[in-house]
Structure formats: structure tokens, C-alpha cells
Amino acid sequence: MLEEVLDPDRAAAAGAALGQLACVLPQGGLLISSSRLVEFNVRATILIAPGLFRLDLTPQEETLGVITRPLGGHPVRWRAEQTTWDGYRDADGVAPLELHALFELSDGPLACWLHILSFTDRDAAAVHFVAKAELRAPPP
């Protein structure tokens, strides 16, 4: 199962229509990255980690809807990095939102670090997102 969910070809194919890129991380694991311009009040998929989760974001003028939709039956725990909660609303610059997950797969645990940057273009009534997910075995 681990080999399957860490396969970059599978991840790139799953997110092909989104222009999603995937590659192996230098120390093992999978890096998925993508960017998207999303109009206010539209729910758009930003990243797909096949067999694990899909990240959907719904930008609004003053808040951001975040959905990490499970794509497998694996037990998972998500937590937001609290210091980054206001990243979307930070008027002083581009600040990240970060989430962490731990998936319990049949052949071992898998950690996910999700990093989302956003920049609001009010004239376009839209938000630019740049997101990446790093999937790797958790540290012992």
C-alpha cells in the first residue's frame, strides 16, 4: 500500500487535469505540488494524493474553506499548525497555512505535511494558491 500511494506517476495522473506535479523526495517519500487561481466562493481541488486525500479550498473574502477529503478508508488524524491559522488573512504578506496528517496504512504509518500559500487578487475577485504535500514515513 505504501508503495502505491507514494508512486509519483500515479499522483501525476490523478491530478493531470489540474497540472499537478509529483516526484520522489530525496530522502524517500512523495512530493506533490500544484497551483491554482480560484474565484471567490468557488470550491476547487488544489491537490490530489490518490488513495489518501484530496485538498479542496473555497476562498471567500474574509475566510477560507479547507476540506481534506479522504480518498481511502485509512484512519487519519489531521491537525492545523495553529500559528499559521491566520495565514490566509495576513494583509502584511504571503504567509503559509500548514496542516499535518498521520495516515495509518496497512503496512505502516505515513506522515503528510501540507503547505499552502495564498495571494488574494481583489481586482480579479480570486485567490492564487500554491500548495504542496510531502508524504513520508514519520520519524521514529
Binding site: A14, G15, A17, L18, G19, R36, V38, E39, F40, N41, V42, R43, A44, T45, I48, R54, D56, Q60, E61, E62, T63, R69, L71, A91, R122, A124, A125, A126
Partner: protein, 276 residues
């Protein structure tokens, strides 16, 4: 640009989106059209074909419509909406680009500028208005931390007066002033830092602000208890755990919650004098 819309059963929406979202890079707007149906709309220069989406979904997509629409979002908003928020079926908070409210609904038109808060997209703004709708106007209103002026303008439109509104952000107050004029509501706008300066109170106090501001409002209410003209305080800008703490500050000042709301992880409460 092409606009495509179709309907899904509400109880199957997420499972069907698992199949459809990877094919819709521009995303979807969701709208509840009936109790059991959700309308999804996507806009793209070259959206996927109906056949491609129905194959992915494994079913016929009901109420399919496809039409040419302008690329400019303002023109699309004017035709289809998408940036307005209806509160309690009685107040519509919208941008100048959205279609006007239906007859009988209070139409609040707010342009967001100056970094101000209050477009209606945030749950705290909507909950404050919902609590406001439950009150009969009995005098003036003070909007503390007014942002774009949404709550002050709503109070004015619902019969409260005179209305005063303050915020520490000069750009927000400038935008609020324009919004007040846009909505034909007279408000005394003022730039003022609620964490350090004296601020006005009124029969109705609206405080959609972070916890430190509530501590100061509670102190001001306690100090003014002898004159005691404030009858209602609507509190938000806090998550439920913070509301518990904030409510203790107000309780010390003699105020207790008579109603509370929670939405999207945020909380709001209507406070009345204890024993009222």
C-alpha cells in the same frame, strides 16, 4: 467562457465530487436548490463535455445547462450572483456587483476596501445580524470595531438610531463611510483604537471583535452601570472556547447570554443585563 450547471442529490454530493472534481480545475460553485438537491456550476473556457463528466460520475447529470457567459466576473456576478449572503431570510449582505435583494428583504450593499471586515462572507458577521434581527429597536447603536460598517448600517436600516461606529483602521472607516452613504444610513464614523481609547456606548452595543476588545467593552459597561442605558450587547469575533472566557468578563459586569449561535467554528451571543 462557458458556464455549465447541473444538479446532484445532496446526500450523494461528496461521493460524486470525488469523481468530478479532478476533471474541473476551475472548481464549482455549490447552491442548494431544493431540500434534496445541490446545483453545481463551473465556468471555464473549455469545460469538460457532458459525456466526460457523466462517464466519470457513472450517472446522468440532471438539469444540465450550458451557455456562453462573459469572462469578466462582475458581469457574471450581475447575472448569476454568487457573492451575496442572505441572513435570516430578511437581510441580504452583498457586493455592488451582485443582483439586488428580493422585495421585502433589507438590501445591504457593501464594497470591501481599506482592509475592512464585514463582507458577510464570515460567519461572525452573519451571526451578529441574525441576533440583531431578533431585537426590537429601542434607541441608538454603537458598532465597536465596525470594519466596513456592516453591523452599523444593518442596525440603522433596522430602525436603531442614532448609530455610531468606530474602528482603529482609518482605511476601513473611510470604506465604511462610503458604504453608509451607499445605503442611505446616517452613522457617526470615527477612527478609534478600542484597546486604548475611550469609546461610546448606546442602547445596543455591537462588538464583533477579538477578546481583548471584549474585556474593554465589559469594563466600560461595568463603569457605566449607574447610567445603564445599554440594553443589549451582541458579541462575536470569538471561537466558542473564547466566548466562554469573554462571557465571564461580561458576567462580572452584570451581563448574561440570552441567546448564542455557533457557525463555522465561530461563536456569537446576545447579552442582556443579568435578571432582566
Amino acid at each position: 467562457m462557458r458556464r455549465v450547471s447541473f444538479r446532484l442529490p445532496a446526500d450523494e454530493k461528496e461521493e460524486l465530487l470525488d469523481a468530478l472534481m479532478p476533471l474541473l480545475p476551475n472548481g464549482v460553485r455549490e447552491r442548494t436548490v431544493e431540500d434534496a438537491a445541490i446545483e453545481l456550476t463551473t465556468v471555464a473556457a473549455a469545460p469538460p463535455t457532458r459525456a466526460a463528466l457523466e462517464t466519470a460520475a457513472g450517472r446522468v447529470l440532471a438539469a444540465w445547462e450550458e451557455r456562453d457567459v462573459p469572462a469578466d466576473w462582475r458581469q457574471r456576478r450581475a447575472r448569476f450572483g454568487g457573492g451575496a449572503f442572505l441572513v435570516g431570510e430578511r437581510v441580504l449582505v452583498r457586493s455592488p456587483w451582485d443582483p439586488p435583494a428580493a422585495a421585502g428583504v433589507v438590501d445591504l450593499v457593501l464594497e470591501r476596501a481599506g482592509g475592512g471586515f464585514g463582507s458577510g462572507s464570515h460567519a461572525t458577521t452573519r451571526m451578529c445580524i441574525e441576533l440583531l434581527l431578533g431585537l426590537d429597536p429601542v434607541g441608538g447603536a454603537a458598532d465597536l470595531g465596525c470594519g466596513l460598517g456592516t453591523l452599523a448600517i444593518a442596525a440603522g436600516r433596522l430602525g436603531w438610531g442614532p448609530v455610531v461606529a468606530v474602528d482603529r483602521m482609518g482605511g476601513a472607516v473611510a470604506a465604511a463611510r462610503e458604504n453608509g452613504a451607499r445605503n442611505g444610513v446616517e452613522v457617526a464614523w470615527e477612527v478609534l483604537d478600542l484597546e486604548s481609547a475611550q469609546f461610546p456606548l448606546a442602547e445596543l452595543v455591537l462588538a464583533n471583535a477579538p477578546p481583548p476588545v471584549h474585556a474593554r467593552v465589559a469594563d466600560a459597561l461595568r463603569a457605566s452601570s449607574a447610567s445603564a442605558r445599554t440594553r443589549h450587547v451582541i458579541v462575536s469575533g470569538v471561537v466558542p472556547a473564547e466566548l466562554d472566557v469573554v462571557a465571564e468578563d461580561y458576567a462580572v459586569a452584570g451581563w448574561t447570554a440570552s441567546a448564542s449561535l455557533v457557525e463555522d467554528g465561530w461563536a456569537a451571543a446576545l447579552l442582556e443585563p443579568a435578571g432582566a
